[in-house]
């Protein structure tokens, strides 16, 4: 029971964390990408469609990366190059992905939505570690995407806080004019962050279809992209904080399934609303966005 719960927590946390780590890079460069939901949905759809017709998970994952990057590229042209309002653009990009995946899904798989399943991604148990009672299955018996996600946590922390590139990235998010004056190329760096984030978010979507649901339904991301936005805020723009917040929200989602099955007096909707309510409380309590990059969300136009 507890073991199954822990496995479920990691499974629920992985796609959120993966997308949130990408969003962290983007936000450090000074951009808020609400289109993250759209990139995740596109990744989910591309991964499943390609894996279904080709029979190859590797091709499916590649397709998810391409789809996520493509959606973020649309966003980047408008937001980074044309300095358009990031919020409205992000919302439109999400609606676009919702519409396109819906239309193509019905076209490819029929109006009936007959189940088209793929085999779940192969698990890679880490030798004897996977046999540790309780923790083994939860931590050391997962598919490659889960390991990749959790390895990214220290990796992205290191890049952002300890490397020259991370310094440049943060300069673009704190003082884009100054960064530009130093010749750092704000446009190029924001594009790079959005491309990497598109790839990660696409993979997060692929996890939903190839590893979790093993099929696609319309709007399968169901707001997880927005939960990833919350994770970045609640995690205070820090990789380790993001991991902790993802696990917390993953636990809330996993609990909700248990409660729904048990039929307890506690409404399960409370747990579904938790990530969003907690984000509001954290934002209100910590005095707004003190930990956020200063130029977050402001379009930058070279003078």
């Amino acid at each position: 029971m507890l073991e199954a719960f822990l496995v479920s927590v990691i499974t629920m946390a992985t796609p959120i964390l993966l997308a949130a780590l990408g969003e962290l890079l983007v936000e450090e460069s000074g951009v808020v990408n609400i289109g993250i939901e759209g990139a995740m949905l596109s990744g989910a759809f591309a991964a499943l469609t390609i894996a279904f017709f080709s029979g190859s998970d590797a091709l499916g994952l590649t397709g998810a990366i391409v789809a996520g990057v493509a959606i973020n590229a649309i966003f980047a042209v408008l937001v980074v190059n044309l300095a358009v309002n990031q919020v409205v653009t992000g919302t439109a990009v999400s609606i676009l992905a919702l519409g396109l995946t819906g239309v193509f899904y019905r076209k490819l798989f029929g109006v009936t939505g007959k189940a088209f399943m793929v085999a779940p991604m192969a698990k890679i148990p880490l030798g004897p570690l996977a046999r540790i009672p309780l923790l083994g299955p939860a931590l050391f018996d997962h598919n490659a995407l889960v390991y990749f996600t959790f390895i990214l946590v220290p990796a992205i922390w290191y890049v952002i806080t300890r490397t020259r590139y991370g310094l440049r990235l943060r300069a673009c998010g704190e003082r884009p004019e100054a960064a530009d004056a130093l010749g750092l190329g704000v446009i190029a760096i924001r594009w790079q962050a959005l491309i990497v984030s598109g790839a990660l978010t696409g993979l997060a979507g692929a996890f939903l279809t190839l590893a979790y649901a093993n099929t696609f339904v319309e709007n399968i991301s169901a707001g997880r992209g927005f939960v990833a936005l919350s994770v970045v805020i609640v995690g205070r723009w820090n990789s380790w904080g993001l991991a902790a917040a993802s696990l917390l929200f993953g636990a809330a989602m996993a609990l909700q399934f248990g409660l729904q099955a048990l039929g307890t007096v506690v409404p399960y909707q409370l747990f579904l609303a938790l990530p969003y309510a907690l984000t509001l409380v954290v934002l209100a309590g910590f005095g707004g966005q003190a930990a956020a990059p200063s130029a977050l969300g402001e379009p930058y136009r070279r003078q």
Partner: protein, 359 residues
């Protein structure tokens, strides 16, 4: 043709062209699809009335978004505000059986407006007093509202037989009647039109409206001018929420009569397309809402005859938004001036949606 009108039409034409490409990729005939959309939306008298009925919530949410965006407050939460308004209306509406019709209807609509105003006002207060970006807070409040509705129809407001996750129908006295049955034309549409005119007057003929637009143009300059930005922020968000909440109450009172999960198919997001096509002009919100209501209404017929799923309408919405945004940028203006010479008549009533004038 002044460019303030030309831009939305050009955006619609360009998105129709892009949609045609998508349709060809799907193996469908663009002409057939557009014809089916038009036939479904305006093919006969009933279809026309249905188009009007379907555009009604879009006028309310479109006004909500227009008012907020005019003040450069990016309210992405019209959907949640509408949902809370609907919950308030649906909850109170079941208890009004003993009241006269007009009073019961007034109470239900007021409940919806208040519910929406509270939901929008929370985001406004968080922005004004706690420096919380309203984009993030309204998105989060949307999801909280959706879960609250789900809890309500599974819990406290569930109908007595507890067979279906819906609430009991509201009292007959609280229901808006249909004027030309079997069509569902009701008072809500007239209310929406009156409110559109009122919002226009507020924005362009009152000092409060001037302050709101000044805040939208340049927050810092508005502060120096003596406008009390925090108080105005709360009021604008509350008003915006009230308009959306009223839309939810009208939907419950006239059409659905009860609450159920996923009451809104995304009216609050579609409203962004409506508001941008209308260039944030409240009067223009009416034709813009009719356009998108027609697309929604025609999409069923399109699915029947052309086999294209109704989600195509979302693709159209998104493309219209993206193209209008791109048209508003200096890059485009520069290009146009290179081709046509400086226009000079572009001083539209729209705050620069292309940038956040917050810096």
């Amino acid at each position: 043709m002044p460019s303030s009108i030309a831009k939305p039409f050009a955006a619609l034409a360009l998105s129709a062209a892009l949609i045609s490409i998508v349709l060809v990729a799907l193996g469908a005939s663009p002409i057939g699809v557009f014809a089916a959309l038009g036939e479904g939306a305006f093919g006969n008298w009933n279809a026309c009335v249905d188009t009007i009925v379907k555009s009604c919530p879009l006028i309310f949410t479109g006004l909500a978004v227009s008012i907020a965006f005019s003040g450069a407050l990016w309210n992405i939460g019209a959907d949640g505000q509408l949902t809370i308004g609907a919950i308030a209306a649906g909850a109170i509406g079941t208890h009004l059986g003993d009241l006269p019709h007009s009073i019961a209807v007034a109470i239900v609509l007021a409940a919806g407006a208040i519910g929406g105003a509270v939901w929008g006002g929370i985001a406004g207060w968080l922005r004004a007093r706690r420096d919380v970006n309203e984009v993030i807070s309204t998105i989060m409040l949307n999801f909280v509202a959706v879960q609250m509705l789900s809890w309500m129809v599974h819990g406290p407001l569930m109908e007595p037989s507890r067979a279906y996750p819906t609430s009991s129908p509201i009292a007959f006295a609280a229901q808006l009647e249909f004027y030309f049955p079997p069509s569902r034309f009701n008072l809500g549409m007239l209310l929406a039109v009156v409110l559109a005119v009122a919002c226009y007057m507020l924005l362009f003929n009152t000092s409060a409206g001037f302050e709101l637009r000044a805040m939208g143009r340049n927050r810092r300059a508005a502060t120096f001018y003596g406008i009390r930005i925090p108080a105005l922020t709360v009021w604008v968000m509350a008003l915006s929420g009230a308009l959306a909440g009223l839309g939810g109450a009208v939907q419950v009172s006239a059409i659905s009569h009860r609450l159920y999960e996923k009451l809104s198919p995304g009216w609050g997001f579609e409203a962004i397309a409506v508001a941008l096509v209308a260039r944030l002009n409240p009067i223009a919100v009416i034709p813009a809402a009719l356009l998108f209501g027609a697309l929604d209404n025609g999409s069923q017929a399109m699915q029947r005859t052309q086999g294209i799923s109704p989600e195509l309408v979302q693709v159209i919405q998104a493309l219209v938004i993206l193209i209008i945004l791109a048209f508003d940028t200096p890059a485009w203006t520069g290009l146009r001036e290179n081709i046509f010479g400086a226009a000079g008549d572009d001083a539209s009533a729209v705050p620069p949606v292309a940038e956040t004038p917050d810096a």
